[in-house]
Amino acid sequence: MSVRMGEEQKQYQEFLKSRQPAKHWLKNSIRAFFAGGIICLIGQGIQETFVHFYHMSEQMAGNPTVAILIFLSALFTGIGVYDVFARYAGAGSAVPVTGFANAIASAALEHKSEGYITGIGTNMFKVAGPVIVYGVVAAFFVGLVRYVFTNF
């Protein structure tokens, strides 16, 4: 922070506290719970379809299920529906794999105007990139802990 928090700044922050509209924590949490749940329910439905009609094992059915969800999310992003849904659903649409697909597809769409290499290629992971980076880093440390515990 480059501005020193002087007395005036502190007073103003205090003054603001009662004057900012409340964030709708509870409403947003409830919406997120149900919206996220519905997405997972759809995913479960797709997986069950693969298991029952295509005779896959549950584990095998996982991959095509995720692929279908990613495809649907990218499609709905492209036709401009996913962001409308996400504004309502909040974390419920961001946490499942569909949120990740939306982050990548929307960034790719946005930067198409700068070309396929410098635009889409460079910026596609702009929003979703941190998830991959810290996902890999976290996996490394979890793996390390597991290795230590199982071998020593």
């Binding site: 480059s2 004057r19 962001d83 649409s93 961001a94 769409l109």
Partner: protein, 337 residues
Amino acid sequence: MKIGKQTWQFASEPRVISTGSAVGEKEGKGPLGIDFDLVITDPYVGQKTWEKAERKMMEMAQDKAIEKAGLSMNNMDIIIAGDLLCQNISANFAARTAGRPYLGVFSACATSMEAVALSALMVDAGQADYALAAVSSHNSTAERMFRFPTEYGAQKPPTAHSTVTGAGALVIGRAPNGIKITHATIGTVTDLGVQSPWEMGAAMAPAAAQTIDQHFRDTGRQPTDYDAIATGDLARVGHPIASELLLQKGWNLGDRFTDCGILIYDPDSQHEVFSGGSGAACCAVVTFSHLFNKLTTGIWKRILIVATGALLSSVSAQQNETVPCVAHAVVFEADQN
């Protein structure tokens, strides 16, 4: 002529020769829709990219203002314009089309009154017979610059703003009639430590209060000397805060205190309004159309427009810097004839 500490008085009283305003569909469907010159329902304005669309809108607003004045671009001695994009590309590229002497300016959403004040100054000083002041903003270019990709699904807090898609232009010059530009108060950059880029209203309110307070001190005027005092884009969160800050400074502005960001949208019937409108075009399109109409029809005699700007960039916000803000005020008076 300088009066007080921060106020310019324009002795020759430059006139608003004509105005031009172009807005997008959402603004056109808002409560002020009928006041705008052009409502363009295609968000791309027939162009290939959002940036080109914003630029096109700025050119359309400029052309409209010049056309209404019965002049041509060649009559403009100077263009003073700005926008929100990096390196002011909308204004710069529109000036390439115009081919006239040009100065680019930036004060974020306060750019509108900065451009008007400087244009009036140049006309007042005799450096220009006609000056063209213009600003633009576009919801989709601003989303991409300052927030997320347009199709990215993100929930915004109620303190967020909706950037106005549009452009406003003024032809200012010497003329026997028309709205008079009499004073401008140039603001100081104020930072009271608001850090979140989602709380621009709260960040900008102290800057607005400071400029308004200084304007009254410099001119020796009272709030009652004005029929309306409008801030640029403090919106529903920032505007009451500014009102309260002014009350603390001893100025009760009452009902005459309004805000362009509140006026432009109807939160009950329109989606995605949040606390209200923002963007360089917000103050410009509302002032140049709706508020000026009240002056030209004689309902109001004198108004003070206080454009407010948050001087952050996406880099400064990511580096956890607080948001410095500025507000520039300009006085417009109805023609007495």
